[in-house]
């Protein structure tokens, strides 16, 4: 399984983005995960537990939002859910299409950061 590599990449991205947003400890990572990303949610969560320990980010939580496969259906003229990952066709009219609007996501959408400030009075 490659979920451990993915979890490590995830923590790298989170650390980099935390820096880009003024630093701070990462308390939570919000991830969008599509069925066609090749990554399984449950396996990623277990891998994430291992990875966060090795990166010294034990308190960081991972919140996964699983996105549906959505297709741009030419017949229904607009976004439609796919019937299933085994049937990449419009759930409404059954037209097969590879015009994917979503389903491949593997992306960080938000993070919770904590700032620790020393009080001015000391």
């Amino acid at each position: 399984m490659h979920e451990l590599s993915i979890a490590i990449s995830l923590l790298d991205v989170a650390a980099e983005e935390a820096q880009n947003h003024g630093g701070g400890r990462v308390l939570a990572i919000y991830l969008r995960l599509g069925p066609l990303s090749g990554v399984v949610s449950a396996a990623l969560l277990s891998a994430f537990e291992l990875a966060r320990e090795s990166e010294g980010m034990e308190q960081c939580r991972l919140l996964i939002e699983e996105t549906p496969i959505v297709l741009d259906c030419a017949v229904c003229q607009g976004p439609q859910p796919a019937r299933s990952i085994q049937e990449i066709c419009c759930a409404t009219c059954g037209t097969p299409t590879m015009n994917l609007i979503s389903g491949r996501e593997l992306e960080v959408t938000a993070m919770e950061l904590s700032d620790e400030h020393a009080n001015a009075s000391g």
Partner: protein, 239 residues
Amino acid sequence: MSTQTRLVEVRQKVLKQNDVTARALRDRFHDAGIFVVSLVSSPGSGKTAFLEQLLTLVRKRHRTAALVGDLATDNDAVRLARSSVPVKQIVTGTVCHLEAEMVKSAMEGWLPDHVEVLFIENVGNLVCPSSYDLGENLRLVLMSVTEGEDKPLKYPTIFNTADVAVITKIDLAAAVEFDSAAAHKSIQAVRPGMRIFELSSKSGAGMPALLDFIESRIAEARESRSAKAAQQASAPVAV
């Protein structure tokens, strides 16, 4: 000490680093005129036998080279070297797939000059390679007639992310009562419109059709390259 928490919006792909490296590789291949074909499949689907045949045939028309990924051993590279094209093994150790960075470092100081076609054989695995772009022009997914017609339904993502499906070992089709129509139906269900080739690496049946297809894609890539070059040559006219 006081602690404040804040929520920040981010929009970043987890595999950003791989995507950046793959894009750089793709540009580099494009500029050097190298057409790159990658192969993914489960272990034992006949990937190496297929590649051995393919190398022997493609090298007659183009300068060809191959990178082969494996968890351990360089058996495949040794076997493929018999086709007398430059072959390099990428031993991935515990990693179950190739990443763009591995391709990039394998090429350092190895990729011979004037190569026109580079084949990349991924580690035998139908799950993990699907997430990683390697900078290839064409990704072939292989399944053999012995694996069952519903293989694509069990591993939809790898079929969905590949460009072309190759059904191998068709010389064994009758013996295993392979239902070609059912296999095609499974492939089309998970990847509508996918091109499918059926062939035997052993007898060579079906190889010419695939070769013609690859040849046409090489020609297309060349055209787009010369169009881009022509555009660049005529573009910088400031008015």
